[in-house]
């Protein structure tokens, strides 16, 4: 057994063990912390699958931003979760559930083992047309060129989620700011971390977006890192979340999908197909769309984590 194989098996066991911990841990808080660790381990597994773009997304969004969301929710729910009204399953029902779930897992494992060694693949087609897009990273090409309609709709899903979260606000808070107010005296450690990390993180985020055209990276990953930096500054309470009725905020939230859709419609008029890019200009159009997508993602994710407005709007 080579070293790499041993590492693979160790990584697989570790990821599974941490996943089991997040399910069986007693406290919700401990479980959510376990989930963050699990997400980071999972992104290592993705690297071993040679899917670096996915690994970056999993680390930034799957582990990082989802982790912040779940941890802050668990912290806020402390004390409320064991209200005593929960109906736990009986031992027999638990065993029955476990057996059924194990069967599902076994069936999937069987499918995994029976997969042909060389499956059907769209890789040749995606590489064949890559020069026409001017991009070097085929994953970015799939996201913004070949399957751009999917990606545009996904941005719409994000906007809808924000609308959904905001709609949960009490009537008197509608249009107000979510999250906590700026602190008079921020916690020194957190403030220091935010001040050191945020400038570097913004650079890294913009870099990851920019190299995404040719190397692993892209709008999602870069946008998520920028979002994380804003969240850190807000968590350190150096700044506070904007009012949800701010015009610039709402404009930035929808800028990504609007620019994307406009480019798609323009393609129908000028390039002979919905979401077609005129030859020669493809890369500049793609980067233009991506820039607005990065902005939208960087604003959408923190707004989703901040939750519904909790303060009355100022005039």
């Amino acid at each position: 057994m080579s070293v790499l194989q041993a590492l693979d098996i160790g990584l697989a066991l570790l990821a599974f063990a941490v996943a089991a911990w997040t399910i069986f841990a007693r406290g919700a808080f401990a479980a959510t912390v376990g989930y963050v660790v699990y997400g980071l381990l999972l992104s290592l597994v993705w690297i071993r699958l040679f899917a670096v773009d996915v690994a970056l997304t999993e680390a930034a969004i799957g582990s990082g931003v989802t982790g912040i969301l779940l941890i802050s929710a668990a912290a806020r729910l402390r004390g409320g979760e064991t209200a005593g009204d929960e109906k736990s399953l009986s031992g027999a029902a638990r065993l029955f559930t476990a057996v059924l779930c194990a069967l599902v897992a076994l069936a999937l494992a069987g499918v995994v083992l029976l997969l042909p060694d060389q499956g059907p693949s769209l890789a040749p087609q995606s590489m064949q047309h890559l020069p026409e897009t001017g991009l070097g990273n085929p994953v970015t090409a799939v996201l913004i060129a070949y399957r751009s309609f999917d990606t545009m709709l996904e941005k719409v899903v994000l906007v809808l989620a924000v609308v959904g979260v905001w709609s949960l606000a009490a009537d008197r808070y509608w249009g107000g700011a979510p999250g906590e107010a700026r602190a008079e005296r921020p916690e020194p450690t957190l403030a220091f971390l935010a001040q050191v990390l945020a400038p570097l993180g913004i650079l890294v985020g913009v870099h990851i977006f920019w190299v995404g055209a040719d190397e692993p990276g892209g709008a999602f990953q870069g946008g998520a890192i920028l979002a994380a930096m804003w969240m850190i500054v807000m968590m350190a309470r150096l700044t506070e979340a904007p009012q949800t009725n701010a015009f610039w905020l709402r404009l930035t939230l929808v800028a990504g999908p609007v620019v994307f859709l406009t480019a798609g419609v323009a393609g129908a008029i000028f390039a002979g197909g919905f979401f077609a890019y005129p030859p020669g200009f493809a890369k500049s159009i793609i980067l233009f769309i991506e820039t607005f997508m990065v902005l939208s993602i960087a604003v959408t994710l923190p707004m989703l984590v901040a939750g519904p407005p909790r303060r009355e709007p100022r005039q």
């Binding site: 699990y38 999972l42 597994v45 897992a105 494992a109 042909p116 590489m127 994000l158 989620a161």
Partner: protein, 114 residues
Amino acid sequence: MTSATLAGLVGAALVGLGLYGLVANPQPLRKILAFNLMGSGVFLVFGIVARKGAAVGLQADPVPQAMVITGIVVAFAASALAVALVLRLFEDTGQVTLNPEAWTKPPEDGAEAG
């Protein structure tokens, strides 16, 4: 066994584990967590489809990779909405439970109903 197959098996185990947590854990937040776990297992199983589709010098088929990236973002959006609903439930009723009897019970000390 290749590392891709191993990752696929981990994905299968994660789906089972997440499904169990979704059914057996009574707390809504733990259900959301388990659902995310199950989702990442599905993504991982899909990931080995990408790896098996490696061709023309690529190490993995880019199409499933792009779909997984889209999936991760959509899963986050759904989780954020679910967490917001749970928190609102907690604010209104002071407890987080999916047990319908807990809501239909008359308030104990005559406090106004949520």
